[in-house]
Structure formats: C-alpha cells, structure tokens
C-alpha cells in the first residue's frame, strides 16, 4: 500500500512536469528538451535554499522562477537568434547541468534534516490524524503519507485550474493561437516571438515547480534527476490523451494529470514485478515511440478498407 500511495503522490507531483510538457509540446508544438535541465534546476535551487534554512514556500517559489527563466532563455535562443527549437533546448539543458552543480555546490543535497514543504505536510498529517494513520481498504497508511498525497493532489488541481483559466484569457487564447496558426495571430497583431518566450517560461516554470516539490518529497536533490524527464512527461501527456480522448483544453489538462498518475502506477507495478530499474528509460522511450507512430499506422491500415467500401460507378 505504501508503494501505491507513493506512486500516486509522485504521479501527482510529476503531473506538473506533464502539464509543462503539454504547454510546450502540444500547445506550442515545440519539442522543448530544456525540461531535463529545468526540473533539476527547480530541485537544486529549492534544496539549496531549504538547506540554508530559508522558508520552504519562498524556496519553492524561487525554484519555479529559476525554471521559468531557463525556459525564457530557450525561447530567446529560438526566436531572437533563430536557433532550431530542439537545439536551443539542448544548449540550455546542457548549460543547466553545470549551473545546477554550481547552485548545489555538489552533486547531491540531502534534505532529511531540514524543514521543507514535505516536513510541513507530514507534520500537518500527524497533527490531524494522529500517529496511527488511516485504514485504506484494510491497509494502514501513515498520516504523513496521506497528508503528502492530499497536498500534491491539491497542488496539481490548483495548477491545472489556473492553467485552464489562463488559457481562456485574451493573452492565453492568443498564446494557444500562436501554436495553432502563427501567421493568423501575427496578422491579428500578436508578437509571436514574445508569446513563444512566455510560453516556454510558463512551461519550464511548471516543470521546475514539479522538480522542486519532488526534491522536497523524496528528501534530496540530485544533479542526475532530470535525465530523460522530457520523455516521461511526453509519455504522461500521451497516456492522458488516450484516456480522455479529448481535444478540448480542459480534457487535455485533466488527461495530463491522469496520465502522469497512471504512468507512475504502471512503473511501480512493473518494478514490483521485477523489472530492472535500469531498463526503465529504454522501455519508456519505446512506449513513447510506439504512441507517436501508432495513429499514423492505424490510418494506413484502415485506408485500404475504406477504398473497398467506395461503390464502383
């Protein structure tokens, strides 16, 4: 049960990663690899600040803002210097690896001894539920775990609601149109470059927030923790789209959260069944590969069938 609750909690925290990837990849159509660096940056900044005794709320906000700046930098490289979006992301991600080591001063910062949002959440859980925790389906779950699960659920929902509201404002609608038809929105007076920079800042801010919360949940920040995160985020988004099947904004946002949670559960179950953790990234990459080509393949398979149904003259 602890394994399950943990998978749920991490899934909800990494839903922020999925939402960030959703913004860059689906709304703007940009494969933004900055994510690998910015999720670690969020964790590194927050962990470093928490370790020096800074208020966790401030430390978390600082982590998020630093991720947003990294995303904005990728946006500037892409729009102002006309560097291919993929390459711009790779450049910033690579640079961030050094930045993260500089920020942390070493490759790993443990947070067990320090006050974080995680310890606040656990304390709140114990004071509300007591030491005995709760019985869930006949299993005893610790009060701290429950509190963190509820807390990450609240954060994921709040962020999704805020995103939903934002993308329905004048600015947010124009940013969606930037990804949909840049020529059209330019003719309607929007500065496409500014929108892309803003969008990548938003995306990486969310991803860094996810990294910040993840570090506080698992109790450490590590320079290696971001590797392959973009693919995990993509996998979540794709699972989410399959689950909701929705093209509407609200459904894709809900889908990203559900996708992230389901993905974590699948990973937890697979690891429990004896999957070698080293193979996890290979399998995830294969999964995303299949998910990306599957719609096209299905179309090809269906087309001959359609041809035969056309009545001959």
């Amino acid at each position: 049960m602890t394994l399950l609750v943990g998978a749920f909690t991490i899934g909800l925290i990494l839903a922020l990663l999925a939402l960030g990837v959703l913004v860059s990849f689906r709304i703007f159509g940009l494969p933004d690899i900055t994510a690998d660096g910015s999720i670690t940056l969020g964790a590194a900044v927050t962990a470093t600040l928490c370790a020096t005794g800074v208020n966790p709320v401030f430390a978390t906000a600082a982590g998020m803002v630093s991720g947003a700046l990294a995303g904005a930098l990728t946006g500037v490289l892409h729009t102002k210097f006309k560097i291919n979006a993929l390459l711009a992301g790779i450049l910033v991600m690579t640079a961030l690896y050094s930045v993260n080591l500089r920020v942390m001063g070493r490759s790993n910062i443990p947070l067990m001894q320090h006050t974080t949002l995680g310890t606040w959440g656990e304390d709140a859980g114990y004071s509300l539920l007591g030491d005995r925790g709760l019985m869930v389906f006949g299993w005893r779950v610790g009060a701290g775990e429950i509190a963190l699960l509820v807390g990450s659920f609240v954060v994921a929902v709040l962020v999704a609601v805020a995103l939903f509201a934002f993308f329905r404002t004048h600015l947010g609608t124009a940013m969606r149109a930037t990804g949909d038809n840049p020529q059209m929105i330019r003719a309607l007076g929007a500065n496409v470059e500014t929108h892309i920079i803003l969008g990548l800042a938003l995306s990486n801010g969310l991803i860094a927030l996810g990294g910040s919360l993840l570090a506080q949940y698992q109790g450490f920040a590590d320079a290696q923790m971001g590797i392959g995160m973009i693919v995990w985020g993509l996998a979540s988004v794709i699972i989410g789209e399959a689950l909701t099947g929705g093209r509407s904004l609200g459904l894709t946002l809900v889908g990203a959260i559900m996708g992230s949670v389901l993905f974590r559960l699948l990973v937890a179950v697979a690891l429990r069944w004896g999957l070698n953790p080293n193979d996890l990234k290979l399998i995830t990459a294969l999964f995303v590969f299949v998910a990306l080509i599957l719609p096209g393949l299905l179309k090809k398979i269906r087309r001959p069938a359609q041809l035969t149904t056309v009545p001959s003259a």
Partner: protein
C-alpha cells in the same frame, strides 16, 4: 489614407534567384477607396500587398498609412491598422480553436491582450447576431472548431474577423481564388457588403476579370513590379472584361517582343 512612395524590393539579391519584385511603386489611395489590383503572375501584386502588410521590410521607399510612417513597423504592429484575408482559407483562422475563440482574438487585433476572460458576454451577443447574418447556420456552432468548416465558410469568417474592428486598410489577397464558384460568389458578395457598410479603404488582388470590372472604384494593373495602368472614376466604370484582356495581351506581346529582341541581340553579338 495609404501613400506608397518609391517602394522597391529585391528578393535574394546577388544570386541566380534574384527577383526584382517591386521596382519603384508610387501609389496614393484615398480613404474609403476600393482598389482592385490586377497583373500577371510575377507582376508583383501580391508582393505589393505583403509589403504594405509588413510581411517583409522594403529595401527602399516609404509607406504611410493613416497618418503613421509604418515603413519600419513589424508586421504585428501594423496589424493595428490593417485587416487581412489571405488566399489560403487555412491561413486566416486557427483551426483547432472554436469560432468564438477566433473572433475573440480578432476583437483584440492590434490591442493589448490582458488577463480578461476572452469569451466575454460583450463579445458573444454581437458575434451571434453578426454570424447569423451570413445565413450559414454557424451562429449555433460557435463552439465548434473552425477547422471543421468548409473553405468558403472559413473565408467568410476570416473576412468578418478582419473587419470586426474597423481597419484603416483592408487587404484582400486573391481571397476567393481557392474557393469553388458558389462559395467565391458568396464571399465576394459579403466583401462588397462589408466594404460598403463600413466605407473601408480596400486593396484587393484578383485574377478574375469579372470581379475586376464589377467591384471597386479604381483599378490598377501591375507589370514587372510597377504600376502600369491606373483607372479611376468614370474610366474604371467604363472598363469591360474585354478591355482588360486586351491590356493583358498587350503586356504579353511586349514580353514576347522583349524575348525575340534579346534572342536577336544574342545571335548578333554573342
């Protein structure tokens, strides 16, 4: 008022692909004037519209629109003054967004976009009324993605979007060329209505002789990046399709002559 002074633009200068698209265009268009732009392929008529819209910055010359020198303004800044309908029906609308959302974007053309709710009630009421006037049954489908509509419907909506806020200049770039005849007629009728109702200053490129003679109060014919003929007032009214075809033939003959002259010179001197 739109004033073009000595506009020049060369694409790919100094290469084998060099195209001298605009070679000194001077043109003044009074407020409320509806100008048809004709010309053969490569005559520079679309380039002229794009130069005015700001798709690229001209090499030399000056563009004044509505009292502003917009020569160096980027495209998105000029959008405050200019409404556009493109040749491709897919260009003017965001396909995955709803009809209402597309109009919400158009209702802020060239204005700051804040954090106000895009689909406000102030927009939806007038929008439903205006779209109902199209008689396409779209007023009940405002939440549908615009990509699900036909090319003609999309072009009609793009025209409404471009003129939702009255533009100082309306640019129509062969906006019916990609449509079937019936849809093209609908969009042309709508264009006439909108331009007449709001007394819009309009620049319209077309390949249709019929549209060229029946629409507008002025007609310019372009050739090799310059304005070759300019008919206005009574002279424009008297124009018939046959006259235009004669003018095209004349241009074609001269080009043939140029080619044969070039061949002759080449055989004599090279």
């Amino acid at each position: 008022m739109l004033t073009l002074t000595g506009l020049r633009k060369t694409f790919n200068p100094g290469t084998v692909n060099e195209v001298r698209a605009l070679q000194g265009v001077d043109l003044t268009i009074e407020d409320g004037s509806f100008v048809i732009v004709l010309g053969m392929n490569g005559s520079g008529k679309s380039t002229l519209l794009n130069a005015v819209a700001g798709t690229f910055i001209v090499d030399s010359g000056r563009i004044d629109l509505d009292g502003h020198d917009v020569t160096r303004w980027p495209e998105h800044r000029r959008a405050r003054l200019i409404g556009r309908v493109f040749q491709n029906p897919f260009s003017g609308t965001a396909p995955n967004m709803s009809i209402a959302e597309n109009f919400a974007l158009a209702a802020r053309r060239g204005r700051p976009r804040g954090l106000g709710f895009a689909l406000s009630r102030d927009l939806m009421g007038p929008l439903r009324d205006r779209v109902a006037l199209l008689k396409m049954g779209l007023e009940d489908r405002l939440d549908n993605a615009i990509g699900s509509l036909s090319g003609g419907q999309r072009q009609a909506l793009t025209l409404l979007m471009a003129t939702w806020l009255k533009p100082a200049l309306l640019l129509l770039d062969e906006h019916t060329a990609a449509l079937d005849p019936k849809s093209a007629d609908q969009v042309i009728t709508l264009s006439e209505e909108v331009v007449a109702r709001d007394k819009l200053t309009t620049l319209m490129v077309t390949h249709s002789m019929q549209q060229a003679v029946s629409l507008g109060d002025r007609l310019i014919m372009m050739d090799r990046g310059k304005v070759l003929h300019d008919f206005r007032g009574p002279a424009k009214k008297r124009l018939r399709a046959e006259d235009l075809i004669d003018l095209f033939d004349e241009i074609r003959r001269r080009e043939l002559l140029d080619e044969s002259a070039a061949a002759m010179l080449q055989s004599l001197y090279v």
